[in-house]
Every structure is written in structure tokens, then in C-alpha cells.
């Protein structure tokens, strides 16, 4: 699985980092999210799905 946060859509709700703290990091300046690593390990897959599902802006894509 690959994960991407669309920086145009992300508005810093931080729900992804709550769902999958090891996978998403938040900017110190505005809390916007990015994937630490676009490749998602098997153990993180469920949490990453939850993160994508939880994003109010629907800014997270899974491949």
C-alpha cells in the first residue's frame, strides 16, 4: 500500500496523526500532514485506512 496526503486539500485537522501516529507527521508551523514514508507496511495498513476514512477534507489517497 502507498499513501499520499494532498497538500492542497489538507487543512491540518490532525485526525490522520491520531489514527496512525507512526505514519503521518504534522508540520510544526501549521499542523498540516504528510506521510513519513509513502510505502505503508502491512502492520500499519488498517490504521492508514482509518486515517484516510477520518480525514474531513478527504485529502488522503491510498494506492
Amino acid at each position: 500500500m502507498e499513501v499520499k496526503v494532498d497538500p492542497e486539500r489538507c487543512q491540518g485537522h490532525t485526525l490522520c496523526a491520531m489514527a496512525a501516529p507512526d505514519v503521518f507527521e504534522l508540520s510544526d508551523i501549521d499542523g498540516h500532514a504528510s506521510a513519513v514514508n509513502e510505502a505503508v507496511s502491512a502492520e500499519h495498513e488498517e490504521k492508514v485506512r482509518e486515517a484516510a476514512h477520518s480525514c474531513p477534507e478527504q485529502a488522503i489517497s491510498l494506492f
Binding site: Q11, T14, L15, M18, E57
Partner: protein
């Protein structure tokens, strides 16, 4: 009469719903109104308050909150397109001042918001946790030996107010000056005879803010006031009234909303003691999802107004440039297609993409503050008064939930416990010194994570 007039009249007539958020019975009828609108007209036209659209469904709110054909602008002087900002109806008492960044469009919005972000990011807010915990500790200490507390007046009103002032760079002992006007302005219905008096208190608060702005220009001290005092936008120094609007927004956003969330959540937990016990025991896994669920269900800021900035169509409905639109975060939060069993609180709810902090570029800039302050208050209550019981006789909701869905009082009894430290006044004095010494109110960009290490 043109074809256009017939078309938009038709759109309005076919989707009409009589929707009045400011009516006293609205709060009691929220559920049936929501269900009816979701079923019949999730995008509806209402003739109330000068006539406006209401986006009630999740899909409708998602579309219009993020649409390029929608404006937040409040054109006070009528030099642009005469749009009226985010309050429906337009709030006369605040007519001299714009509602800060919430009533700006791009690019102006982004220029001001960028100045504020480094004070309110998750990293910036995390530096304040020890401060928050101390204010919570002291507030509870004032009541812990009596076995009685008003969770609104004696806890949930205090902590957000003190923290907001500290983050602004205003002396925290002034929190009582700001407290009443901010809350009263929000819980008083627009047609109440009390409005003039509250307007007066608001003007006094505005004067204090402007005084602080001037003082900070003379003698800089860190905080959000400082960020605005030294702001240049497009090479120009913004008008003081513009800065006042932004400061008022930070205060209005910082005070009442977190208070409302906390009061409603504590009331619900009192009514569901088993869930309260579970939450307390399993807080490591449940606290985050429970917080989001309380946010969704209680939606302290129930919605915001917009103006349609270009003719557009949604689902065969024609909206015209200049039309007013109410984005109902609260109703969208109960959309069963997004939130299964939407009218149940599920502390473990998954996929909780609620609208309570808004959506799009105007996402509430205080969201990280709100979540953190709420969680610290909740955890302290669970730890120090785990058996608290709210008294229905001592529970007072706002008469009007048109602006904030809040509570005025929430009386509770509990098994008394020991004080842990100094009282509130002494604690605030100490915290002021710590804030100043450690530069807590500096932006995260000033010292990065060093500020945290020093604490």
C-alpha cells in the same frame, strides 16, 4: 421579469424550508428538523433572516465549504461587493469591526493566517500543557474540598480564558474582564433587551485589546498580539480595527466553544456513568476518539454563514450570486450516510470526519487548543472527582444556540478530595512569571522545540 428570475424563484420555491436557528424552540427540535431536511431538502431555501440557503447534509456542506463560488467576505464599507460575512442575521452590535480572518477571502486570509499559525499549531500548543494543567489543578482546588462545583463558571470558563490571554500576551489576571462580555454576547438572543448593555461590555473589552496592542508596540512582549502588532500585509500596516477584529475572533473562538464542549461532555458522562468509567480506565486508547465524538455530537459552533460569489448549480438547484448561505456543521454531523447511527454517541467511533471545526481554508485555527484544553480538563475531572453527578436542576443551557451551542451553568456534586496546591489567584501570578520567563507565548518558529525542553 427575466428567465433568470423565474429559474431562481423556482429553485427556492421547490426547496423551501422554514428554518430559524434563533427561535427558542429550535434547540428542542434540532433532531426532527435535521432528519426532515436530510430526507426532503438537504439544500434548502429559508425566507427567515432576510432569506438564505441552508446546507444541512454532509455532501452539501462538504461541497460548499470548499467551493470557489463561496465567499466569507464582510464588506463593512461597501467598497467591494457588499457581502455580509459569516453571521446570519448580520450582528448589528459588531457592525464596526470585521470578524477577523474568518471574514476574509484569499489572498488576504492567507496573509493574516500565516502570522497566527506558528502560535497555534499542534507543536506550539503542546508547549502549554504544563501551564494548562496548573490552571486546571488550581480551579479544581478552589472547589475540591466542598464537594460542589459549577463546571461552567468554576472550570470550563476559566481555563480557556486564561490560556487564550496568555497566548495573546495579555496579563492572565485580566481574564475576568473578558469573561462576561464574551459569554454574554453569545448566549443572549439577538432581540433581547440586554443587547445594549452587552454591547457596552464588548466595547470596554475592545478598548482593552486596543490598549494592549499599543502597549505591545511600545514594549514588545511575545504572543499573538505581538504578531499582529508587527504585521505588514502587502507592505502595509493593517488598520487597527482590522487587528481588533482578528483579536476578537481569537478571543470569541477561544473562550466559549471549548467551554461548551466541556460542559456538554461532562453532562453526558454524568448521565452515562458506565461509559465514563470505561473512558477513564481506557483513556490511552479511547480519549482521542471520544473527544472527536463529543465534538461531532455537540458541535459547539453549529454553523457559519457564507455568500454565494458566483451563480452556481447544485443538484439541479440554482444559487445566485449574492445569495446568503448557512453551512450547518451541526446538521452535517448527523448525516447518517457519513456517520452510522448519527444520533448515538459512540466513544470508539471510526471514520469520524466531523465538521465541528469547519472545513476548507477556514478550518478553526484554534482546533489544537480546543482539543488539548478539553482533554486536560476532562482527565483531571475523571481523576479527582470520578463520581461527580450533575444536578439537572442546576443545568442551564443557552436560551439561544444560534451562535454557540453552550451552557451557562452545570452544577455537580462529588466526594470531596484534597487540595493539591495553591489557589487560582496565586497560581495565575506564578504562571504569569513562568510564561514570561520561558517565552511560552513566542511562536514555535522562534525557538522551535527548545522552549519545550526548557520547561
Amino acid at each position: 421579469m427575466s428567465v433568470d428570475d423565474v429559474v431562481d424563484d423556482d429553485s427556492r420555491k421547490r426547496n423551501t424550508y422554514d428554518f430559524d436557528r434563533h427561535a427558542p424552540e429550535y434547540r428542542d427540535n434540532f433532531l426532527p428538523i435535521t432528519e426532515e431536511m436530510h430526507a426532503k431538502c438537504p439544500m434548502a431555501w429559508s425566507d427567515t433572516h432576510g432569506g438564505h440557503w441552508v446546507a444541512a447534509g454532509g455532501r452539501e456542506v462538504f461541497t460548499f465549504a470548499r467551493s470557489a463560488d463561496v465567499s466569507n467576505d464582510h464588506d463593512l464599507k461597501g467598497t467591494r461587493r457588499g457581502y455580509k460575512g459569516i453571521a446570519i442575521p448580520t450582528m448589528e452590535r459588531a457592525s464596526g469591526v470585521r470578524g477577523g480572518i474568518l471574514e476574509m477571502d484569499e489572498p488576504e486570509h492567507r496573509e493574516f493566517r500565516s502570522l497566527l499559525n506558528p502560535y497555534l499549531s499542534p507543536a506550539a500548543v503542546n508547549r502549554w500543557i504544563p501551564f494548562i494543567d496548573e490552571v486546571v489543578r488550581a480551579s479544581i482546588d478552589e472547589r475540591i474540598e466542598t464537594g460542589r462545583i459549577d463546571f461552567v463558571d468554576e472550570l470550563a470558563n476559566i481555563v480557556p480564558a486564561v490560556l487564550t490571554l496568555a497566548m495573546l500576551g495579555i496579563p492572565v489576571k485580566k481574564w475576568t474582564i473578558y469573561n462576561e462580555p464574551v459569554h454574554a454576547a453569545v448566549y443572549t438572543p439577538p432581540d433581547s433587551p440586554d443587547i445594549p448593555r452587552i454591547g457596552e461590555l464588548h466595547r470596554a473589552m475592545g478598548l482593552d485589546l486596543l490598549t494592549n496592542l499599543m502597549e505591545v508596540r511600545e514594549n514588545p512582549r511575545p504572543g499573538l498580539v505581538d504578531a499582529l502588532a508587527r504585521a505588514t500585509v502587502d507592505g502595509e500596516t493593517p488598520d487597527d480595527m482590522e487587528l481588533l477584529g482578528i483579536l476578537s475572533l481569537l478571543i470569541g473562538g477561544g473562550f466559549d466553544t471549548t467551554t461548551a464542549l466541556t460542559a456538554h461532555s461532562l453532562e453526558w458522562l454524568s448521565q452515562h456513568p458506565e461509559e465514563r468509567d470505561t473512558l477513564s480506565r481506557e483513556r490511552d486508547t479511547l480519549l482521542n476518539s471520544a473527544t472527536e465524538e463529543f465534538l461531532r455530537y455537540f458541535a459547539p459552533a453549529p454553523g457559519d454563514g457564507r455568500t454565494i460569489s458566483a451563480d452556481c448549480e447544485y443538484d439541479g438547484i440554482q444559487l445566485m450570486e449574492g445569495d446568503r448561505l448557512w453551512l450547518s456543521w451541526a446538521m452535517a454531523n448527523r448525516d447518517s450516510s457519513l456517520f452510522p447511527e448519527p444520533n448515538q454517541i459512540d466513544l470508539e467511533r471510526k471514520g469520524n470526519r466531523h465538521f465541528s471545526f469547519g472545513l476548507g481554508i477556514h478550518r478553526c485555527i484554534g482546533s489544537n487548543v480546543a482539543r488539548t484544553v478539553f482533554k486536560r480538563m476532562l482527565v483531571a475531572v475523571l481523576d479527582r472527582m470520578p463520581d461527580y453527578r450533575c444536578d439537572p436542576e442546576g443545568t442551564v443551557h443557552y436560551d439561544s444556540i444560534g451562535v454557540i451551542q453552550g451552557m451557562r451553568h452545570l452544577l455537580a456534586t462529588f466526594t470531596p478530595g484534597p487540595r493539591l496546591g495553591a489557589g487560582l489567584d496565586d497560581t495565575l501570578e506564578k504562571l504569569q512569571l513562568i510564561t514570561d520567563e520561558q517565552g511560552l507565548a513566542e511562536p514555535i518558529t522562534a525557538r522551535g522545540k527548545d522552549a519545550q525542553a526548557r520547561g
